[in-house]
């Protein structure tokens, strides 16, 4: 039987960016409300992983009555298995800068920042050159907007938007309580739009081709295309632009090595899907009436049968234990205890029944941790322990 190949490869994001000047000039001469409506009707959702509707974010921030507002591009790409933002910033930086400037026009902001993770320091030089070219052009057309790079220094948690603001303000990257949301009080307490690199690149696509072109891709609640970072046990690791809403079976047919045992969707903070669930899983945002739909910031890691799921979980938990900011107890202590717990079960110091206690702890973290880091540890923990219980014990 021929494989049911249904993956649709697309090429919007990395297509040339030479028309950025026309797009910038064209859009900043339209009423802001029109641009917001365009974004809202495209149903673009944030591509960093959380999936907040981008148009709504711009709209809410535009409604705030403050003289100073900020546009921030979140380039603190730290989720294990994600590497698309680096590619966007090195190949089509002007698309991101153009979208930032248009956002500035829409919400009434004159200052933009790119928060670039410390690990990507090597991108800084080329990116600064693109910024110089861009800002020079803005000056030429009498459009007031500046963009600066702010370097991170090696902290996964700073990808969380409020932790990122704290970091930019010269503090420890500890997430704030929400509300207030960034649209009301973000960087320096001012209304701020903070968008992921890829979100801004898609915004450019929408401004270039119109909302309909974007909306026609994907499925209900998950419109448009998305960049996927494919790694692990696959013959063709890399970055691929695919339509949202694809089935995991089709994905594995295309990218698996024929022996795929499980796929981690959404990085260490996402879900592990075992082979038996491939057919009922689609990739997109929650909200479909039937089946399981898993969101992802783009990280797709494949594991074949030679891999021990215990080692995978151990690696994730060590990651979370180190990257937890330590501010709230459920996450600080929870990450340590989950790691100690699975090690104790593996060594036979605790009985298999102890795993149930750990699952309850993970659930508690999900409800009580302050930010997405602590809340999402349960995603990978529960999906691995429940599906590969034997591997945790023996």
């Amino acid at each position: 039987m021929a494989p049911t190949y249904q993956l649709k490869r697309l090429d919007f994001i990395f297509k040339n960016e030479n028309d950025w000047k026309e797009i910038l000039v064209g859009k900043i001469n339209l009423p802001p409300q029109e641009l917001i409506n365009e974004l809202i009707s495209s149903e673009l959702k944030g591509r960093g992983g959380a999936g907040f509707p981008t148009g709504l974010k711009w709209k809410l921030t535009s409604e705030e009555k403050e003289a100073v507002k900020y546009v921030i591009c979140n380039a603190d790409e730290g989720e294990p298995g994600t590497f698309k933002d680096r590619e966007i910033l090195s190949k089509v930086p002007l698309k991101v800068l153009t979208s930032m400037a248009i956002c500035g026009y829409v919400i009434g902001s004159k200052e933009g920042y790119i928060y670039l993770r410390g690990e990507y320091f090597f991108l800084q030089h080329e990116l600064n050159k693109a910024i110089e070219e861009f800002v020079a052009y803005c000056r030429k057309i009498n459009f007031e907007f500046t963009i600066r790079i702010f370097m991170g220094s090696g902290a996964y948690i700073c990808g969380e938007e409020t932790a990122l603001f704290e970091s930019m303000e010269g503090k420890r990257g500890e997430p704030r309580n929400k509300p207030p949301f960034p649209s009301v009080s973000g960087y320096m307490g001012k209304p701020t739009v903070i968008n992921n690199v890829e979100t801004l690149a898609h915004t450019y696509t929408i401004f270039e081709y119109g909302a309909k072109r974007f909306y026609d891709l994907g499925v209900q609640y998950s419109r448009g295309s998305k960049l996927f970072s494919v790694s692990g046990d696959t013959p063709k690791p890399g970055i691929y632009e695919l339509e949202l809403g694809m089935s995991l079976v089709d994905f594995v047919d295309e990218f698996g090595d024929g022996d795929t045992k499980a796929v981690q969707v959404g990085g260490a903070s996402g879900f592990l899907v075992p082979r038996k669930r491939f057919s009922e899983t689609t990739i997109g945002f929650q909200g479909k009436l039937t089946g399981i739909s898993l969101p992802t910031g783009g990280s797709m890691m494949l594991f074949n049968s030679s891999r021990s799921m215990y080692n995978v979980l151990d690696n994730y938990l060590e990651f979370f234990r180190e990257e937890s900011c330590g501010q709230c107890t459920p996450c600080r202590v929870g990450c340590q205890q989950l790691l100690n717990g699975i090690k104790a079960v593996k060594r036979g110091e605790k009985t298999a029944g102890y795993l149930e206690k750990l699952l309850r702890l993970a659930e508690t973290m999900q409800f009580t941790a302050k930010c997405g880091l602590g809340q999402s540890v349960a995603n990978s923990f529960s999906s691995i322990v429940e599906n590969f219980r034997e591997e945790m014990i023996y």
Binding site: E77, G78, E79, P80, G81, T82, F83, R86, R117, G118, E119, Y120, F121, F122, F150, M151, G152, S153, G154, A155, Y156, S167, M168, E169, G170, K171, R172, G173, M188, S229, V230, S231, G232, D233, P237, G238, I239, Q264, A268, M301, F303, R307, N311, V312, N315, Y316, F319, E322, E323, C325
Partner: protein
């Protein structure tokens, strides 16, 4: 004036003396000195008129702001899942043997420090490492030996 005090003063002149200028200043000191000594942190606190504890608290939060003396070249091996699956342990073993140090240590001549770090974002080219700010990917023990040899010779020429 100590050279580091002057460096801090220059960085503060360049970036500003507000709280939100703290991170670029800390990064600037680390770039030059390879780490933040207690003295540097106190000097930064004085220059920016901040409590020393605030500077210390911020500095120690970030994994790239070292507060222990580091070598001229800091090698950071990615230890997150894909790099780990694709043989990062062999890479570490190779470097440990070549430089005669363990992870977390610095060579006695102060040229190399070996560390592990979390996901570098090169999972499709695993295993990966950083030497200072330069990225090396698709590592094999053989390739890593070649890369390090270049760095060792570089240091001989300069030294």
């Amino acid at each position: 004036m100590y050279p580091v005090s002057e460096l801090i003063k220059n960085l503060a002149d360049q970036h500003g003396r507000m709280r939100h200028n703290l991170l670029p200043i800390l990064q600037g000191v680390v770039e030059q000195e390879k780490y933040l000594s207690e003295y540097s942190m106190l000097e930064i606190a004085r220059e920016l008129d901040l409590p020393a504890a605030e500077v210390y608290g911020t500095a120690t939060f970030y994994s790239f702001l070292e507060h222990k003396k580091m070598g001229k070249y800091i090698i950071r091996i990615c230890k997150t899942i894909t790099c780990s699956m694709k043989g990062k342990n062999q890479i570490i073993k190779t470097i440990e043997d070549m430089l005669n140090i363990n992870v977390g240590e610095t060579t006695p001549d102060g040229n190399f420090s070996l560390l592990q770090t979390n996901c570098l974002g090169f999972c499709h080219m695993a295993p990966a490492m950083l030497i200072n700010y330069e990225v090396f990917t698709d590592l094999t023990p053989e390739k890593v030996r070649e890369i390090l040899t270049v760095f060792i010779n570089k240091k001989d020429k300069e030294g």
